[in-house]
């Protein structure tokens, strides 16, 4: 058992020092009934090679996104992960460290968090950011709770353009908080009248940008309306790469920005772990959830960093804490931060531009297909098509041919039949020209079969 350093001789000597006759003697406080479980129906220990074979079999039973063309987005984006990033986050001093409670020997993690907070603030156009949350969806829920704390109001409005899973997490999180969560129906044509719904009883309104259909919106008019009524504007960002190219929500007037950092931090990993980004205006600082890292000096006057403002947190405030969050997503925040450093101003901008160009070009080709309509609106690297039929069987048919063509509306909105002909398509730099050709041709063929079938 390679992870256990004690030998039988060590165990005997230690029991002797303790004055116990056996390991079992140490468990005397455990009721006898629970202490001797029957044999588990589980295998005994195995070597690396055996475990690797098991996991290789799990892996083989999947089709990796990179095994062929992949145009899936919907809040999880496949971008290239630099090799140096993946090396650096595996360094034991980062990987195997705890939350930096002992700042003297955790300056590495702490300086990274300070840099991360700065990068998130810069990217979102807001003043302060925390040291990360679990993911974008939970960050969004925390933002709504925070808005209620700040405004002392009890109503939250969610745009229909918000990722339906994020909306569901918000609803769940606030279910017992004496807060009314009003979520608008999904609206691919951008007809929802958010401004008209702003009122003085509202704690916040949550808008995703780009929204779940990929559409970009100018949040400024909404922000003005919110400001007038003392409503906080929460902007949700599922693809932070977009912020390399578009005006950040903070500049458009958002008070809180939450985002999912996965797309710029690491592999898709089947949707988790991600990293929640959370930024806000300075004045809301003491109402923010999550860990915060701050600059200070040490006994010799040298610059250093510590976790700070912990009086907001559960280990001090207990039931009065701003959140119950404890473990967050430090390592993925590190990955995000390293990627920001590698990209820099110029790289982030260019990568965003490349994504946009490839998406625009692909959309241009797809919207020419007979029966296919591109839903109108500005977009970044993801867009929505309206097909002449239910998108799900089309997606399944293309998957059979090795093409992950996009997300069918049914997957996101099973109860909205009118959206079942929607196909969401994300195009990133990881798609090749051949991939894009395959998508266009594959979709044309699949729809041709459909049309052919319909014509019979």
């Amino acid at each position: 058992m390679r992870y256990l350093p004690l030998t039988e001789a060590d165990r005997a000597a230690m029991l002797d020092t303790i004055g116990a006759g056996s390991l079992d003697d140490l468990f005397v406080d455990v009721p006898e009934a629970a202490r001797r479980p029957p044999a588990f129906n589980l295998p005994d220990h195995q070597g690396e090679l055996a475990v690797e074979r098991t996991f290789a079999a799990f892996a083989r039973a999947n089709r990796a996104a990179g095994d062929g063309p992949c145009f899936l987005g919907g809040g999880a984006y496949r971008h290239h992960v630099p090799a140096s990033l993946d090396y650096l986050i595996q360094r034991g001093e980062f990987l195997t460290a705890y939350t930096p409670y002992q700042p003297e020997i955790a300056q590495g993690t702490l300086q990274v968090l300070f840099e991360f907070q700065t990068q998130v603030a810069l990217l979102t156009g807001l003043e302060v950011a925390n040291a990360s949350m679990y993911d974008g969806a939970t960050a969004c829920a925390e933002a709504c709770a925070m808005a209620c704390r700040v405004t002392r109001r009890k109503r939250v409005l969610l745009s229909g353009g918000l990722h339906p899973q994020w909306a569901e997490v918000v609803r769940t999180f606030l279910a017992h908080a004496d807060v009314t969560v009003e979520d608008l129906p999904p609206d691919p044509l951008d007809m929802e009248d958010l401004i008209g719904r702003i009122g003085a009883d509202l704690a916040c309104v949550v808008v995703q940008n780009p929204d779940v259909f990929g559409h970009l919106k100018d949040l400024s008019p909404l922000a003005s309306a919110c400001r007038e009524d003392g409503v906080l504007l929460v902007a949700a960002v599922a693809e932070p790469l977009s912020l390399g190219l578009i005006t950040p929500p903070g500049e458009m007037g958002a008070d809180i920005v939450v985002a999912e950092g996965q797309s710029l931090a690491g592999p898709l990993s089947f949707g988790g772990p991600g990293v929640g980004l959370f930024a806000a205006r300075q004045k809301f600082l003491r109402n923010m959830p999550g860990r915060l890292c701050g600059e200070t000096v040490d006994a010799d006057g040298r610059r250093g960093f510590v976790l700070t403002l912990s009086t907001r947190e559960q280990h001090i405030r207990r039931e009065k804490a701003t959140s119950n969050i404890c473990t967050n997503s430090g390592l993925i925040a590190l990955a995000f931060s390293i990627h920001m450093s590698l990209l820099g101003e110029s790289g982030l901008t260019e990568l965003a531009r490349l994504n946009h160009a490839l998406a625009v070009e692909t959309a241009r080709r797809l919207e020419k297909l007979p029966g296919v309509k591109l839903l109108p609106g500005a977009f970044f690297n993801e867009f929505a098509l309206k097909l002449p039929c239910d998108a799900e069987p089309v997606v399944e048919a293309l998957a059979e041919k090795g093409i992950l063509a996009g997300i069918p509306g049914r997957r996101l909105w099973p109860t909205y039949d009118e959206l079942h002909d929607v196909l969401l398509i994300a195009v990133t730099e990881t798609t090749t020209e051949a991939d894009r050709d395959a998508l266009v041709e594959g979709l044309a063929a699949a729809l041709g079969e459909h049309n052919g079938g319909a014509g019979q």
Binding site: L26, P31, F58, S84, A97, Q107, I246, E345
Partner: protein
Amino acid sequence: LEEPLIFELGRPGARGIDLPEGPEVTPRLGGLERQRPIGLPDLSEPQVVRHYTRLSQKNYGIDSGLFPLGSCTMKHNPRLNERLARLPGLADLHPFQPQGTVQGALALIHTLAGWLTELTGMPAVAMTPAAGAHGELCGLMAIRACLEARGDARQVVLVPESAHGTNPATAALCGYQVESIPGTADGRVDVDALKRMLGPDVAALMITNPNTLGLFERDIIDISQAVHAAGGLVYMDGANLNALIGRVRVGDLGVDAMHINLHKTFSTPHGGGGPGAGPVVLSDTLAPFAPLPYVVKDGEAWRLIEHRHEADGHPFGRMKGYHGQFGVFVRALAYMMSLGADGLAQASGDAVLAANYLLARLKDHLSAPFPGPVMHEALFDDSFLKGTGASTLDFAKGLIDEGYHPMTMYFPLVVHGALLVEPTETESKASLDAFAESCIALADRARNDPESLKQAPLMAPRRRLDETRAARQPVLRWTPPAGD
């Protein structure tokens, strides 16, 4: 060596990434193009690699040495798990791929769920919570959903005074009032007091077991029965599960829900603050209320239940986006399969052995408020420092200069100047002995030369940091120097 902030290292025009030219297109950004620069620094790859390498060298991890942070279970993190989590067939899966293309991933989740239920003897598990506190929330939400389904609007959650802050914080998030249960002189929940507090308004008891003093709640079965008899449910905080796994079946203790920190008990790396994963095992009573999504076996295939209308039970909602911390699942399952049923039982046994060994070696030099046997952590108070002028904090910082990460300090709150030591099962006897000798030497130093301890640490990248200043004048981000 000092390492500047990344913002102080940048040079406009440097590049850390090379990108191809994209096609020439007419933008479709709707006039929302960024008008101002972001403000990020430009750096080359060598600078970036060196920056983070140097920062890492200012950190201490379990790879660096003993990390006896009580209640945190800082055990060895096998690299096999990192290798497996990076297999393209596991890492490079989109959460919205058609289910037919991710059968291996669904099987993996289902397999891990099977290990968790089998080891705990609980019938069901909610896999998606992202961390321990998130798991607590999931468990309490299931409890609340269950009680509400019964039409039972109970308002109170009982929490022992020794509990982690997450317990009351979670209960509050769930809309409950928190009442604190006093402890006994031997460090357990006062069962009589608890029974007196039970009543028609008590929704649940949240009890940490082994508790935060490192002791097993001997009366847990009696307690569970009493809570159930009063119409409440029992949430067990599984933060300290490393003492029990493979040796004690939680299902036999009568509890209804317990979260499992995969990043503690099952060794997925803490990464300086996460990510973790906090699946919650559930009793038959609570199982129907488990949140979405979850995986079921459907003939030969695995199926992901993502939407309410597909569910058999009454899911109370959704904890996070997608399907849980899949990358953490991979690591945890690899760890569990590596140790196996026999190894997990040996591991918890060794963890408990190591804690009792340190207690035995240190109890005459430090002061232990409770006698053993303890479970997987050894608790000391600061009475051994009385009159020396040195504090718990000084003692802990002194350990840094000895080459160790300090233990947990000043927690649990119910013990004065607490020092909570959790060595875990992955330390050798030589390592435990060396640590004990350092502690003994430090205790001597506290008596003979307390002033020197107050200066500690001297050999770390930083001496003690001014936390008051950080909180009073918060500087939470870099800003460009004036004039830039």
